[in-house]
């Protein structure tokens, strides 16, 4: 019987975020949320481990009220309960403040946990830092970027590809693992699962006060990094649009970009300049 915690993050679904170029701020409220793909793989790993070992899965997320959706989805997929960390003071946290907050919440809501699973990185900020920093914060062994997990008693064996080195590693529980997004293909939400998740989901909401957290250690105030500004890398791109028959466009492409294409492919392009 394992007490498993899965950390989930809700990320914006759209690839092109609504962004206000005048103020340089993101309009995240306009974006639809989804469960971060790597977190989905971590949840799938948890479900498969529980199928063999038995136990309980707690899905944990930090975010706005809307982030509760990923907890309901996790419950629909088979998690036993959800914990939402929701507090204005937690907003704007960097990875260090995030891992601090998650660690205290896990100690509070999941005492005696055996295994913590996280996605290796999120699709929006892609830092891959929260998992390892959470292991540091809880002072437990942890392995990142894992593709395969097997649990035997109190020992976990994992496999990961790290910079061309295929490593097999072992640690004793309690421990933390971050899972790559390709590692475990997530199952589909079972028939009726979502309805059940909305009808009788066990979701607890915790704020900073209920966890007794120092406001100076969470959210933007607890973060060592400051974002000075954000800009779109697309600014200044020309975005030339070509239309017409495929043959004509291909000709145009070489007429206008023969140097660029020829340079990249390392071949001289002999254009037929006599064409009308």
């Amino acid at each position: 019987m394992l007490n498993i915690v899965v950390c989930l993050k809700q990320v914006p679904m759209v690839s092109e975020l609504p962004w206000d170029p005048a103020t340089g701020t993101l309009r995240r409220e306009l974006a639809e949320g989804m469960m971060n793909p790597a977190c989905r793989a971590a949840l799938e790993a948890a479900l498969r481990i529980r199928e063999i070992q038995g136990g309980e899965i707690t899905a944990l997320t930090m975010g706005p009220k809307m982030a509760e959706e990923v907890l309901r989805e996790a419950i629909a997929l088979g998690a036993d309960r959800g914990v939402l960390l929701n507090d204005r003071g937690m907003a704007g946290a960097d990875t260090s403040a995030t891992s601090f907050t998650l660690a205290r919440a896990i100690e509070h809501a999941c005492p005696g946990f055996d295994l913590i699973l996280c996605g290796f990185a999120s699709s929006d900020s892609d830092t891959a830092q929260v998992g390892p920093q959470l292991a540091e914060e809880l002072d437990i062994p942890g392995v990142g970027y894992v593709d395969e997990i097997s649990v035997s008693g109190r020992t976990v064996r994992v496999q990961r590809l790290s910079d061309n080195f295929l490593e097999t590693l072992e640690m004793d529980l309690p421990g933390l693992i971050t899972v790559t997004s390709g590692a475990y293909v997530p199952r589909h939400v079972p028939m009726g699962g979502l309805q059940a998740a909305f009808d009788r989901a066990d979701i607890a909401t915790l704020d900073a006060a209920s966890l007794g957290l120092d406001p100076d250690r969470i959210g933007a105030r607890g973060s060592a990094t400051r974002i000075l500004n954000v800009a779109s890398p697309l600014a200044g791109k020309k975005n030339i649009v070509l239309t017409g028959t495929p043959k004509r466009i291909a000709e145009q492409l070489f007429e206008r970009f023969d140097d660029k294409i020829g340079g990249a492919i390392g071949k001289d392009l002999k254009l037929d300049k006599k064409k009308p």
Partner: protein, 346 residues
């Protein structure tokens, strides 16, 4: 008062030395930054036989002919070295502990680490132990008017570029994407100081035990390093039509990449996956055929210098991101392009 010079540290990530030059690239950029804040550039190396690792018979300085010597030849003023059999294999907790202790003793201004798989996890842990901030996967570094390390990093899958600083805590830490900076040419006449740091006597065993490690040599041609990448998505229509990309890639001296739906549909191998769970590419030219532009894919190709996208839908994300957006059926245009190339390349 402490008369010690300010220092910019670069973590010596020497695994895959010949494939991955990120440490050398960081030493080069650190040199440029060091001038602006009057600091010295130090490399930090943990390992075993690191000072004899490369058998370089031509070295003018036979004492430091391994990776330590390499780092000096590529720009380090000083190398902090802990060389011990226990450090023969990369070991996360042990390396993090050694770095933590050394940084607490020496108090560097900045620590730069290559954004390799190891480097990203290692940096996260070191930053946490030092109670400082960390910006991940930077694509640019500079010193701002306040003398702070300006960390330029993609956010939201590269759809935004953020400028980040660590204003109050030290050291200022960043991981940097390989290929961001150019290494300084090897200069065997350069000299530097090697500071040997003994292994702490109280070093605990790593709680994560290495059972087996196997070096997977990268295959001959790698999509990550290709100058031209031809990427295909579901919009190509069928496996047979997708296969035409291989002919196109051959003509372009390029490699073929694929999106996740294409890999799932078995039109292409998983090796070809360009995306967050697959390969990150940085070609001079990216041809993108029938790809709408899901964030997991675009995040992995934001470093392409020039993007030519083909799609029937002019409003697809990939079309908006492209330098040249071609409104056409992806498969028909692929055929036309192959014909045109065959005519043009003589």
């Amino acid at each position: 008062m402490n008369a010690k010079r300010r220092a910019i540290w670069v973590f010596g990530d020497y695994r895959n030395y010949f494939q991955n030059r990120v440490t050398l690239q960081l030493l080069s950029r650190a040199r440029e930054l060091a001038v602006k804040i009057d600091a010295e550039v130090c490399a930090v190396v943990f390992g075993y036989w690191t000072d004899e690792w490369v058998d370089d018979a031509l070295s003018h300085n036979p004492t430091f002919c391994g990776v330590v010597g390499e780092y000096i030849a590529h720009g380090a003023d000083k190398v902090f070295l802990t060389d011990h059999p226990r450090l023969a294999a990369y070991s996360m907790e042990t390396y993090a502990l050694l770095m933590e202790r050394l940084a607490k003793r020496e108090k560097p201004e900045m620590i730069l680490i290559g954004a390799t798989t190891f480097g990203r996890e290692f940096a996260s842990r070191v930053a946490k132990r030092l109670g400082t901030g960390l910006t991940s996967d930077c694509i640019g570094l500079d010193i701002n008017e306040a003398g702070l390390l300006l960390q330029i990093a993609p956010s939201f899958g590269g759809n935004l570029i953020a400028q980040i600083v660590t204003p109050e805590k030290l050291p200022q830490m960043a991981t940097v994407r390989p290929g961001t900076f150019q290494e300084i040419p090897h200069d065997t006449l350069r000299t530097g100081k090697v500071v040997r740091v003994p292994l702490p006597k109280d070093l605990p065993d790593d709680r994560v035990r290495l059972i087996r490690v196997e070096h997977r040599l990268p295959r001959g041609r790698k999509i990550e390093d290709a100058k031209v990448v031809v990427c295909g998505g579901r919009g190509l229509g069928s496996k047979k039509k997708f296969a035409k990309l291989f002919e196109l890639a051959e003509l372009l001296n390029g490699e073929v990449g694929a999106t996740r739906p294409v890999v799932y549909a078995d039109w292409a191998d998983h090796d070809a996956l360009v995306g967050q769970a697959g390969k990150h590419i940085k070609p001079q030219i990216l041809f993108s055929f029938g790809i709408s532009g899901a964030i997991q894919h675009t995040a992995a190709c934001n470093d392409a210098k020039f993007i030519i996208a083909v799609n029937k839908n002019p409003n697809a994300t990939m079309m908006k991101k492209a330098d040249v957006a071609i409104v056409a059926d992806a498969s028909q245009f692929c055929t036309a392009l192959i014909q045109e190339l065959k005519r043009c390349i003589r």
